[in-house]
C-alpha cells in the first residue's frame, strides 16, 4: 500500500515537472523553433567573423609559430598594395558592366516573352537553363568556345567578316574582359528576365488597354505605363544581382586565372590568391574585412532604400 502511494507520488511529481516543462516550452515556442537555425548561423558565420577580427590583427602564419599582435599592419599592407586597389576597381567595373548588360538583355527578353504566342511554353525552359549550371562549368563552356586557334568563335567570326580573326580571348586585354562579361551575361541574364517577367505579368492588363484606347504608341505605353509600374521590381532585381556580381570569382578562376598577370583580378580572386595560394592569411583576412565593410555599405544603402518598401 505504502509502495503504491510512493509510486503515485513519483508519478505525480514527474507529471508536474513535465507540465511545467511543457508550459515553459509552450510560452517560448517561438524561440525554441528559431533556436537550431540561429545557433548554427552563430556558430558558423558570426563566430568565425569575430575570430577573423583577431586573425586580422595578428600575424597568422603556418610557418611562424605563435601569433604576434601586429596592430593595423595587415590593413596597411592591403591598402598599400596596388594590386588590391586594381582588384577593387576591376570588381566595380566588371560587376556594373555585367549587371547593366544583363538588365538590358533581360528586360528586352521579358518584353518579348510577356504576351503569349505559339511555342512560348517551349522556349521558356530553354531560357532559364543557365541558372541551374555551376558557374565553373559556364566558364568551361566559354573557354572551349573562345579557345584560340581551334575554338569555333574565331572561326565563325573569320567567315562572317571575311578576314582571318585570331583573337586570344582569354589572354589579351580587353578581350578577356569581354569574355568574362559574356560568360556572366550568359548565366545571369535569365535571372533578370524571370524577375522582370513576373513584374510585367503582375501589371493589370486594363492599364495597357486604357493606354491603347488613348492612342498611345507602344513606346509611349512603355515609357509612361510599364516603366513606372515596373520600377520597384527593376530595383529589386538589380540589387539582388549586383550583390552577387561583386562576389565574382568562379568564372575568373576558370577562364583567365586572374591573368594575364593580375589584370583580371577581382576582389574575391585577389583575396583568394593572398590567402589560399600565398598563405598570407592575416593579410587576406584584413583585406576581406575591408571588402566586407565596403559590401555592407552597399547593402545598407541598396537594401534599405530599395527593398524596404518592396518587402511587405
Amino acid at each position: 500500500m505504502a509502495d503504491g502511494v510512493s509510486v503515485n507520488g513519483i508519478t505525480a511529481r514527474r507529471s508536474a515537472r513535465t507540465t511545467a516543462a511543457s508550459s515553459w516550452a509552450e510560452r517560448h515556442i517561438g524561440w525554441l523553433l528559431v533556436a537550431p537555425a540561429v545557433v548554427l548561423i552563430l556558430a558558423l558565420t558570426i563566430y568565425p567573423l569575430i575570430y577573423s577580427v583577431w586573425v586580422a590583427f595578428v600575424n597568422y602564419d603556418f610557418e611562424i609559430p605563435g601569433h604576434a599582435f601586429v596592430g593595423l599592419q595587415n590593413f596597411r599592407q592591403v591598402i598599400a598594395d596596388p594590386i588590391a586597389r586594381w582588384s577593387l576597381l576591376n570588381t566595380a567595373i566588371l560587376s556594373v558592366a555585367c549587371v547593366a548588360v544583363e538588365f538590358l538583355l533581360g528586360l528586352m527578353l521579358a518584353l518579348a516573352m510577356v504576351k503569349p504566342f505559339r511555342g512560348r511554353a517551349l522556349i521558356m525552359p530553354i531560357l532559364i537553363v543557365p541558372l541551374f549550371i555551376s558557374p565553373v562549368i559556364v566558364g568551361q563552356f566559354w573557354s572551349l568556345l573562345l579557345q584560340q586557334p581551334y575554338g569555333p568563335t574565331n572561326y565563325l567570326l573569320s567567315k562572317l567578316l571575311g578576314t582571318p580573326v585570331q583573337i586570344s580571348w582569354l589572354t589579351q586585354t580587353p578581350w578577356n574582359f569581354i569574355a568574362i562579361v559574356t560568360a556572366d551575361v550568359w548565366q545571369w541574364t535569365p535571372f533578370m528576365f524571370v524577375i522582370l517577367l513576373a513584374g510585367l505579368t503582375s501589371i493589370a492588363p486594363e492599364l495597357f488597354e486604357a493606354a491603347e484606347l488613348d492612342g498611345a504608341t507602344p513606346w509611349e505605353t512603355f515609357r509612361h505605363v510599364t516603366l513606372p509600374l515596373l520600377t520597384p521590381i527593376i530595383l529589386l532585381a538589380i540589387t539582388f544581382r549586383l550583390l552577387d556580381a561583386v562576389k565574382l570569382f568562379d568564372v575568373i578562376y576558370v577562364m583567365t586565372g586572374g591573368g594575364p598577370g593580375s589584370s583580371t583580378y577581382t576582389a574575391s580572386f585577389y583575396l583568394y590568391q593572398i590567402g589560399f595560394q600565398q598563405f598570407h592569411l592575416s593579410k587576406a583576412t584584413a583585406g576581406s574585412w575591408i571588402f566586407l565593410i565596403l559590401s555592407a555599405i552597399i547593402i545598407a544603402v541598396l537594401v534599405r532604400r530599395l527593398l524596404r518598401p518592396e518587402v511587405r
Binding site: I29, W31, V55, F249
Partner: protein, 283 residues
C-alpha cells in the same frame, strides 16, 4: 489624327513583332550554342579537337571521355561526395528553415530584426566567411570532411530556406491551427500535426533550391576540401589551363554535372522567381 496615330501604332507594332522574334531567335542561339558545343565536345574522338575548321559533329562519336572523366579524374568519387553533401544539406536546411520560417510567420519571433538578420547572411561575401572557417575547421578536424561541408552549406542555404518557408507559412490560413489549439493541442502539436503536412509542397520547393545551390557551388568546396570530400565542381581545377587532350574529359564531366541540376530546375520552374528572390517576389 487619331486614325493616323493608330495606323502609325499598327505599323510600329508589326515592326516590333518582327524585331521581337528575331531577338528571341538570337538569344535562343546564344543560350544553346555553349550547351551544344560542350555535348559535342564530350563525344568527339581526341583527334577531332585540333581541326580547322572545327568539327561540328563527330563522324565517330565516342563515350571514352565519360569513362576517363569518371575514373581517371576521380569524377565518380566527386559525384558520390556531391550527392551525399547536397542531400544531407538539403534535409538539414529544409528542416531548420521550416522550423524558423514557421516561427517567424506565426509568432513574429524577434520581429523584423531577426528575419532581416537572417536575410543579410545571404549577401555576406563568401571570402570573408571562408578564410576564418578554413582556419577553424583545421582546428576542429572538419577540414576536408563531408560533415564540415554539410554544416557550412546548411548555414549558407538557411536564408533561402527560412525566407521561402516564412513566405509560404504566411499565406497559409491559420484557422486550422487555431482550431487544433482549441481542441487542446499544444502549439508545437498544431505546427507538427496541422501546419507541417499542409506545408509539404513549399518545403519540397525550398529543398530543391537548396539542393541545386549546393550541387553547383564551387568556392567553399574549393577552399574547404582537398583529396577526400571534394565535390563534382571542384574537379574542374584539374583542367585549369587545360590542354586540348583534356577537352573531352572536361566536357564529359560538365555534362555529367549539369544534367541533374537542370532536371531538378525544370521541376521547380514555376517557383523560380520566389526561389531567386527568397520569396520577396511572388512569381
Amino acid at each position: 489624327m487619331a486614325v493616323a496615330r493608330s495606323r502609325r501604332g499598327a505599323e510600329f507594332r508589326l515592326g516590333f513583332g518582327a524585331v521581337r522574334f528575331l531577338y528571341l531567335a538570337l538569344f535562343l542561339l546564344f543560350v544553346l550554342a555553349p550547351l551544344y558545343w560542350v555535348v559535342v565536345t564530350s563525344i568527339k574522338p581526341t583527334s577531332d579537337y585540333l581541326a580547322i575548321p572545327p568539327v561540328w559533329f563527330p563522324a565517330e562519336p565516342t563515350l571514352v571521355h565519360y569513362t576517363a572523366a569518371l575514373f581517371a579524374y576521380r569524377g565518380f568519387a566527386g559525384l558520390i561526395n556531391s550527392v551525399i553533401v547536397a542531400s544531407a544539406t538539403t534535409v538539414l536546411s529544409a528542416l531548420l528553415g521550416t522550423l524558423m520560417g514557421y516561427s517567424l510567420a506565426r509568432f513574429n519571433t524577434g520581429g523584423s530584426h531577426l528575419s532581416f538578420w537572417v536575410l543579410s547572411q545571404r549577401f555576406l561575401p563568401p571570402i570573408a566567411i571562408v578564410l576564418p572557417v578554413f582556419l577553424l575547421y583545421r582546428g576542429w578536424g572538419l577540414y576536408d570532411t563531408r560533415i564540415g561541408l554539410i554544416l557550412i552549406y546548411t548555414v549558407i542555404t538557411l536564408p533561402l530556406s527560412v525566407w521561402m518557408m516564412y513566405a509560404y507559412f504566411r499565406q497559409l490560413p491559420k484557422e486550422m491551427e487555431e482550431a487544433a489549439l482549441v481542441d487542446g493541442c499544444t502549439r508545437f502539436g498544431a505546427f507538427w500535426r496541422v501546419a507541417l503536412p499542409l506545408a509539404g509542397p513549399g518545403i519540397v520547393v525550398a529543398a530543391v533550391f537548396a539542393f541545386i545551390f549546393v550541387w553547383t557551388e564551387f568556392f567553399f568546396a574549393l577552399n574547404l576540401t582537398s583529396r577526400n570530400a571534394f565535390t563534382l565542381p571542384t574537379i574542374f581545377r584539374s583542367f585549369l589551363g587545360f590542354q586540348a587532350s583534356q577537352y573531352g574529359e572536361a566536357s564529359a564531366l560538365a555534362v555529367t554535372s549539369l544534367v541533374p541540376s537542370i532536371i531538378l530546375g525544370m521541376l521547380v520552374q514555376r517557383h523560380l522567381v520566389r526561389g531567386l528572390t527568397l520569396g520577396a517576389v511572388q512569381g
